[in-house]
Structures are given as structure tokens and as C-alpha cells.
């Protein structure tokens, strides 16, 4: 669990990040900072490079240049499977629940990488819907339950930075509300969260700061308490 006394130090520092899928140049010099204990969102239209930024952090993009530092360690050039072992938990878009695994197996799949992860009873307390579903095939859960499972399985590992890619996509408002409650509880527990969202109304209820991305670059940073003054600008960025 992150130490509250360091809550203002930079945990993740991305500088001049460029990323490529084959020939196409997707990120053009992304720079952003996430401090310990913060919830930071990446807002932006489809194709702005939000998910690619997440994938770049995890090392699952073909080629990337620039700098991604997590707790002082450079992630660019690091072997892919070592990055999560530093304490970064990844919740991919579309949840990535495994069809050939039961709910229990999905929950216990990611290896524990650090001490201090949540226990399974604590996880059930956070997501009561998952309790008693252990032997169900992972993909037989509803979309919302699958999203909960995708978050839940990272909480066991002891990761203290969580990358959440569009956790509300395609979910009913009631379920979005439940996810929001859970994310706020995780913040209270001291988790640091980088969140990709299209739904800024949802983002505004949980985030400290928002980075706005356009065409592979960060074009603005809006603290959550200044969101109201910047609404007009934000509408323009997001095209809503």
C-alpha cells in the first residue's frame, strides 16, 4: 500500500513519449505526471492515443521512444513481463476476461508481485456481485461483473499503480455508479490510478486532474476543481 507521507511525489513520469504501430506513428511526444495517491484521467476523442499511452506504459506497443519512469525506474527497454512486477496493474479495455478460465481462476491469475495486496474477502467486500460465482465461466458474467472482475484481479497483486482503460464503456448507469464507488474506495485505500475515460461526467466524480489528449499529444491539463470554468473548452476538445 502506498505511503501517504509521500503522496505528492511523482510516481509515474512520462516525457516526450512517441509510440508506433508498425509504420504508423501514433503518439507524438506525450508528457504527463501522476503523483502518488492521485486519480488522473486521460480524456479525449476516439483515436487520440489514450489507450496507446496505457499500452506504452505496459510495454505492449511495437516501438516507443522517450521516457516512462515509474518510481524512478525507466520502463522503456525493460522486458515486458518485468513492468507489471514493479507494481503496475493493468485493466485493459474490453476487460480481457478469459473464457477458458473460471471466475476464481480469472481472479487468481495475475501473480502477486508485491506485499500488501488485498485479500479475496476484502475484494468480495468491494465487489459483492462476484461472491459465490467462483466456478462460473469468466465470460458468462454480465459486462458489469466482468469489469468488476477485471479490476478485482489486479487488487490481489499488490500493485500500487492501476491503469484503468475505459471501465464504464458499454455499461448501464447503475453499474457505472457501482464502479465509481469502488474506484473511490480504492483511492481512499491509497491506490494511484490512471484512468482512460470518454465519459467525463464519470471522470469528474473521481479524478484529481484530467489530461486532455488530441492526435497523439497531451494538449491540456485541467485540475478537477477547475473543471466547471473549463467546461466550454472541454466540450470543444471532446466534441460533445
Amino acid at each position: 500500500m502506498p505511503d501517504a507521507s509521500h503522496s505528492r511525489s511523482a510516481m509515474l513520469e512520462i516525457a516526450d513519449l512517441h509510440a508506433f504501430y508498425g509504420e504508423s506513428h501514433v503518439l507524438h511526444g506525450v508528457s504527463l505526471t501522476v503523483r502518488q495517491g492521485e486519480v488522473v484521467t486521460l480524456l479525449g476523442r476516439n483515436g487520440a492515443g489514450k489507450t496507446t499511452t496505457m499500452r506504452s506504459i505496459m510495454g505492449i506497443v511495437g516501438k516507443r521512444t522517450g521516457s516512462i519512469e515509474f518510481q524512478g525506474q525507466q520502463l522503456i527497454g525493460m522486458a515486458q513481463h518485468k513492468i507489471p512486477r514493479l507494481g503496475i496493474g493493468y485493466v485493459p479495455e474490453e476487460r480481457g476476461i478469459f473464457a477458458s478460465l473460471s471466475v476464481d481462476e480469472n481472479l487468481t491469475l495475475p501473480p502477486v508481485v508485491k506485499e500488501g495486496g488485498m485479500t479475496v474477502p476484502q475484494i468480495y467486500e468491494l465487489f459483492p456481485n462476484l461472491q459465490g460465482r467462483g466456478s462460473t465461466q469468466g465470460t458468462r458474467l454480465s459486462g458489469g461483473e466482468q469489469q468488476m472482475l477485471a479490476i478485482a484481479r489486479i487488487l490481489r497483486t499488490g500493485a500500487d499503480l492501476i491503469l484503468l482503460d475505459e471501465p464504464t464503456e458499454g455499461l448501464a448507469p447503475v453499474i457505472i455508479e457501482q464502479i465509481g464507488v469502488a474506484v473511490r474506495k480504492l483511492k481512499q485505500r491509497g491506490f494511484t490510478i490512471l484512468l482512460v475515460e470518454q465519459n467525463f461526467r464519470f471522470a469528474a466524480t473521481i479524478a484529481d486532474r484530467h489530461y486532455v489528449m488530441e492526435e497523439g499529444q497531451v494538449v491540456d491539463m485541467i485540475p478537477n476543481d477547475q473543471l466547471a470554468q473549463n467546461m466550454e473548452k472541454l466540450h470543444e476538445y471532446l466534441g460533445v
Binding site: 507489471p84 478469459f98 491469475l109 497483486t157
Partner: protein, 295 residues
């Protein structure tokens, strides 16, 4: 003398036993192929050659070093597994981003090279390999005579197949394997070294072929062509069972072995093609195989 459908029981059970023996080898080999296909998406045409290699390692250990059957049962699969690890690291790993066809062509080429090498060194006539002393003789079961060694082959193959199935379907390691088969990128993003897992999976899959080779040595002769004779039928078994299905590979292996045995009793002329007829029918009705999932 009593008969069953006009067939003397000795002949019927004798053929069923032969079918079960063949089925044991089909199951072991198609299990390895299914594990490899599931994880690597490679149709491992070198499987027959590596089965032959397992038998040859056992024969070489016996004739050159004086190491007997029981040690060979351990050492030959390890040696074949090591060859597999080298092949995967040096050659196969370069092909994963390409179409299945490239893996098939590469492993076919490897099979031809290994077989060619052994033909050159040892000729095509088979080398005898003795049945281990402990398993000589047999049991008279009343309705048939069961040679001890054949009983052992069936039992050993069953145990290995069940243990493999258990490891894949019921353990944490198996969960990694199944998950990585489905979405290797995400499994890697949880901190698991997927490329190493892929290498070891290939090594394990071909080690099963090596083990089958050692088990086969005392029954069939050790010959450079023993693998290519078998592998075509085994591929038919895998297609019938469903590519990538572990349980499907095992059950279909035994089932088709038995069916072949029965065909030899009732209509011997068809015994060599019955597996292929079934394959054609299965492909028409259920293209993903009996146990395969449609993608």
C-alpha cells in the same frame, strides 16, 4: 468354441488390445500436438520425427552406453525436449507473426532433415530393442493372453495423459497456459514471461513424443521411418478431436485406436482407411472437430 458375432473371442480381444496399444500412441502424440497447437498455433509436423528420435535415443543409450530401458524412459524425453527447446528458440519463435502455414512448412522441413540424417546413419531397416526383463512374459486372462509389456504401455500412456490433462485444467500453471493460449499479450501484462512459457510448452509437447518413442521401441522396431508412418494417422486423430482440445485429443486417440482394432476384426480391408473416413465425415458435420470450439 464360443464366438462373438461369429468371431472367436481370442481374435476379437487380441485385435482390441492391438487397437488400444495403437490408441495409446495416438493419444500421447496427439496430446503433444494439441498442447503445442493451442499455445504456439504451430502445426508441428516434426512430431513424428521427434517420436522416432525418442526411440533412437533409447536405442543409442542401450547400444552405445549400456543404459537400459527405465533410465531411457526418463532420459530420452528429456533429450527430445531439449532438442525441442533449441528448435523453438532458434527457428520457430521467428514465425509466430506469420500464417500457420509457415510453421507447418518449417516443421515439415525439420522432420525431413532429422529423418534423412537417421536414414543416412542407420539405414531403413529396423533395429531391435528388447523388452525390459521386468516386463517380459504375460498374463493369461482366460479370454485372452495379455503380454505384460503391452499392458504397461497402455497403463503408462493413460497415466501420462491424465496427469497432463490435470496439470492443464486444474492447476495454476495450467491456468496460465490456458489464459496465454487465449490472450498472450494480457498474460504478459500481468507479469508472466510468456515467451519462456511458449518455449517450455513446445519442449514438453515434443518430450511427450519422445516418451512415446521409448514406449514404442520394444513393440515396433526402432527405425528412421517409424514416425512418418504414424504421424499421418495422428494428424487425422487431432483433426477429428479438434485442434487444441486436450481432452479431445486423448479421448479421440484411444477411441480411434479401438475402432481401428474392431475394423481389423470385422472388415480388415478397411482398417487402414477407417480413421480417414471418419475424419472426412467429421469435417463435413463438425469442421472444428468433435471437441473443438468454433472460432
Amino acid at each position: 468354441m464360443p464366438t462373438i458375432f461369429g468371431i472367436p473371442p481370442q481374435a476379437l480381444f487380441g485385435q482390441l488390445l492391438l487397437g488400444l496399444i495403437n490408441g495409446s500412441f495416438y493419444a500421447l502424440l496427439s496430446l503433444g500436438l494439441a498442447v503445442i497447437f493451442g499455445m504456439l498455433n504451430v502445426i508441428n509436423f516434426a512430431h513424428g520425427a521427434l517420436y522416432m528420435l525418442g526411440a533412437f535415443v533409447a536405442w543409442l543409450l542401450m547400444t552405445q552406453v549400456g543404459i537400459g530401458y527405465w533410465w531411457a524412459l526418463l532420459l530420452a524425453p528429456l533429450a527430445v525436449g531439449a532438442v525441442g527447446v533449441l528448435l523453438e528458440k532458434s527457428l520457430l519463435s521467428r514465425l509466430y507473426k506469420l500464417d500457420h502455414l509457415y510453421g507447418l512448412l518449417l516443421t515439415f522441413g525439420i522432420a525431413l532433415m532429422i529423418e534423412g540424417l537417421f536414414r543416412h546413419l542407420y539405414g531403413v531397416s529396423g533395429q531391435p530393442y528388447p523388452i525390459p526383463r521386468e516386463l517380459a512374459g504375460g498374463q493369461n486372462l482366460g479370454f485372452m493372453f495379455l503380454p505384460n509389456y503391452r499392458g504397461w504401455v497402455v497403463a503408462a500412456s493413460l497415466v501420462v495423459c491424465l496427469a497432463t490433462w490435470y496439470a492443464i485444467e486444474r492447476t495454476q500453471l495450467g491456468a496460465y497456459l490456458r489464459a496465454a493460449t487465449e490472450n498472450p499479450v494480457l498474460v504478459q501484462a500481468f507479469g508472466i514471461n510468456v515467451p519462456r512459457m511458449v518455449t517450455l510448452t513446445y519442449g514438453f509437447g515434443v518430450a511427450l513424443a519422445g516418451l512415446a518413442g521409448v514406449l514404442a521401441a520394444p513393440i515396433y522396431q526402432v527405425s528412421p521411418l517409424m514416425g512418418s508412418n504414424l504421424i499421418i494417422v495422428v494428424f487425422a486423430v487431432v483433426v477429428i478431436g479438434g485442434m487444441g482440445s486436450i481432452l479431445g485429443a486423448v479421448l479421440t486417440g484411444y477411441g480411434l485406436g479401438l475402432l481401428e482394432g474392431l475394423t481389423k476384426v470385422f472388415y480388415p480391408e478397411a482398417s487402414n482407411i477407417v480413421v480417414f473416413v471418419i475424419m472426412a465425415v467429421v469435417l463435413m458435420i463438425k469442421p472444428a472437430g468433435l471437441f473443438g470450439r468454433e472460432k
